[in-house]
Amino acid sequence: MAKVVIENLSKYFDRVEAVKNFELEIDDKEFVVLVGPSGCGKSTTLRCVAGLEEMTAGEIHIGDQMVNDLPPRDRNIAMVFQDYALYPHMSVYQNMAFGLKLRKYAKAEINQRVREAAEILGIEELLNRKPRELSGGQRQRVAVGRAIVRKPSVFLFDEPLSNLDAKLRVQMRAELSKLHQQLQTTIIYVTHDQVEAMTMGTKIVIMKDGEIQQVGTPMEVYEYPVNLFVGGFIGSPAMNFIPAKIISKDSELSVDAGSFELVIPSEKEQYLQGKINEEVIFGIRPEDMQDKSFAEKSIQGGSIQAVVEVVEPLGSEVQLFVISGEHSLVARVDPRTQARLSEGIKLVLNMDKIHIFEKEPPHFRVKTEERP
C-alpha cells in the first residue's frame, strides 16, 4: 500500500563499502526481489529500509514520508527474518499479537486480526503451541503471520526460505506468491537463490559487490542479461561461456571458437559488424543446446561434435556435461537421448538465442536483437 523510493543509498562498514549508490523505485504492490551472491549488499540494503542499519548516505522514502531518521517501529513495515526470530517464550498467538499489543490495540481487535491471519496461513490449530514445538515450515508460516497481522505498508523478507528443504521451498514459494496477490502490498524480498528471484519477483534487482547490475522482469533479465555476471548468475545450470572471435567468411558472420565455427543468423549480422575480428565471449544457455536426434526441426542452428563426460538424468530432461575441443559445456537435452559416457554426440545450438559479451570487464552484452 505504499511506494518505496531509495535514492543514492550508500553504506560503509568501517572502510568497506557494502552498498554503493543504490537507486531504486518500487511501485505500490510490486514484489521486488534483491538477488545476488553473498556479500553483494542485498541484505544490508534491506536492513537500511527496515531501519536496522544506519545509512552512510542517501534517502529512503516509504509512501510520502522520508524515513531516514525514523526508528523501525515508526516506518510501518514488517519483516520476516531468515531464522524466523520467533520469540521462544511466547506461544504462536502471543508471537503474532506482540506487535499489536505494543501498539495498544484493543483485545478484541487483536484477537480478530490474529485469527484472520492464522486462517489465511492455515495455522489456526497451532495458536497455543510454543515455537520449539513447530516444524520448519510451520515456523515459517508463523513468522509470516506475525508480519501480516500488523497490515504494514511494506513487507520485508530476508532470505525467508533458506532454512527449508527443497520440497517445502517449492511449496512456500507458491504460497508467498499467492499471499502477495491476496494482500496486495509492496514486498521487498532478499535472496541469494536465483530460482526464488525468477519465480516470485515482479521485478528483479541483481546486485554484485554492492552495486546494482540490472533491474528488470524475470524474463527480461533471463533473455537479455546486461553483462556476463548476470548471464551466468541467472539460470541453472549456468550459461556456457566460450572465448571466441567474430569472423567474416563467405559474406556471412561466424563465431570462431577454435574447435568449432558457428554461423550467426543474418538478422543479427547488422549488430555485429563493428565486432568483426574482435575477441568476445560467446554465451549459450544449456537448454539452447539440443541433442541433434531429438531437436525441434524449426531450430535455426549450427551443430557441434562433443564427447560426453557426465550424464545426469533428471527424469523430464537429461543434463549432459560434454567436452568439445578445448571447451567444457553443459546441455539440457531430451530425456530420450541416447548419449552414453565417453561417446560422441552431435549437439544443435539454437543460434537465435546466443549471447555475445565483450571480452573486457565488465563484459557488457552486445546488442544482437530488437527487444519486443
Partner: protein
C-alpha cells in the same frame, strides 16, 4: 516422563549433598555425652535426642544476629552483582565496540585471580573506607568475586540469543526498554537464574573475608560466626557446630530446591532452538 527420569540420575548427587546434612542433623540432636562416647555410632541416635544445642545457639549465641547479617549481605550482594553483571554482559554480548571480546575474556580471567593476591590490598581499601569490622565491608569485597563470574556466565547466555530476536522486537514496535524486559531478559531467564544462584551461594558461604575483616560479634555473618565462636583452638563444640551449620545451609538448600527445576530446564532444553 523424560524429565522424571532425569531426576533419577541426580540421586548420587543428592546422596553426596544429603549425607553431610543427615550426619549433621543426627549429631545436632545427640547429647554431648553420646557425641564424645567411644561406643557412639555416628549415624544413629542411641540415647534420648536433645534440643540443647539448638537452644544454646539460638539463645546464648549470636546466631539470630549473624543470620540476619548474612541475609542482608547476601541479598544486597546478589542485587548489586546482578545489576552490574546484566549491564556488563549485555554490553559485551550485544554491542560491537572495539575490543569487546577480549574484554569479556579479561573479565573471566579476573575471576581467576587468586584471592590471596587481593586479600591484603582489599584490607587496606576497606580500612580507608572506614568499613573495617562492619558487615558493609563485604558489600565491597564479595562483588569482586561474583561480578566477573556472573558476567561471564551471562555473556555466554546472551550471545546465544540471536540478534534477530532483538531486531524482530524493534520492527514489531518495541522500544529499547520493552525489547529488554519483554523479549531479551525473559528469553535469558535460565542464564539469569544460574547467575543469581551462583552469586547467592558464594556470598552466603564465603568464609575467608568475614573471618579476617570482622571482629565485632554484632557485625559477624553466619559462616564465620559459627567458626569463631564454636571452635576454640582445637576444642570443637560438635553438637552446636552441627546445629549451627545445619541452620546456615538451610537457605542454600531452599534456593536450590526452588530454582533447580528452572535451572535444569534451562540447561537441558535450551531456550533457543
Amino acid at each position: 516422563m523424560k524429565v522424571r527420569l532425569s531426576y533419577v540420575a541426580l540421586i548420587p548427587f543428592l546422596v553426596f549433598f544429603m549425607f553431610p546434612l543427615y550426619w549433621m542433623l543426627i549429631t545436632s540432636f545427640k547429647t554431648d555425652t553420646e557425641i564424645t562416647s567411644l561406643e557412639g555410632i555416628p549415624l544413629i541416635i542411641q540415647s534420648k535426642p536433645t534440643l540443647a544445642h539448638y537452644k544454646k545457639i539460638f539463645f546464648e549465641e549470636k546466631l539470630p544476629t549473624w543470620f540476619k547479617n548474612s541475609f542482608i549481605v547476601t541479598t544486597l550482594v546478589t542485587l548489586i552483582t546482578m545489576s552490574i553483571s546484566i549491564s556488563a554482559a549485555y554490553a559485551l554480548a550485544r554491542m560491537r565496540f572495539f575490543g569487546s571480546q577480549p574484554l569479556g575474556i579479561g573479565i573471566f580471567l579476573t575471576y581467576l585471580v587468586p584471592p590471596t593476591l587481593l586479600f591484603i590490598p582489599f584490607y587496606k581499601v576497606v580500612g580507608i573506607l572506614g568499613l573495617l569490622n562492619t558487615k558493609w565491608s563485604l558489600l565491597i569485597i564479595y562483588p569482586t568475586a561474583t561480578v566477573p563470574f556472573c558476567t561471564w556466565i551471562l555473556i555466554g547466555y546472551f550471545s546465544a540469543i540471536p540478534r534477530q530476536l532483538d531486531e524482530a522486537a524493534f520492527v514489531d514496535g518495541a522500544s529499547y526498554f520493552q525489547m529488554l524486559t519483554r523479549v531479551f531478559l525473559p528469553v535469558a531467564t535460565p542464564g539469569l537464574i544460574a547467575a543469581t544462584m551462583f552469586a547467592f551461594t558464594v556470598s552466603w558461604a564465603n568464609f575467608l573475608y568475614p573471618l579476617a575483616y570482622i571482629y565485632r560479634h554484632d557485625e559477624q555473618v553466619l559462616t564465620a560466626g559459627i567458626y569463631t565462636s564454636l571452635i576454640k583452638g582445637d576444642v570443637y563444640f560438635w553438637g552446636e557446630l552441627m546445629a549451627a551449620a545445619l541452620v546456615a545451609s538451610l537457605p542454600v538448600v531452599v534456593v536450590f530446591a526452588f530454582l533447580m527445576d528452572y535451572y535444569i530446564a534451562g540447561l537441558t532444553k535450551g531456550t533457543i532452538k
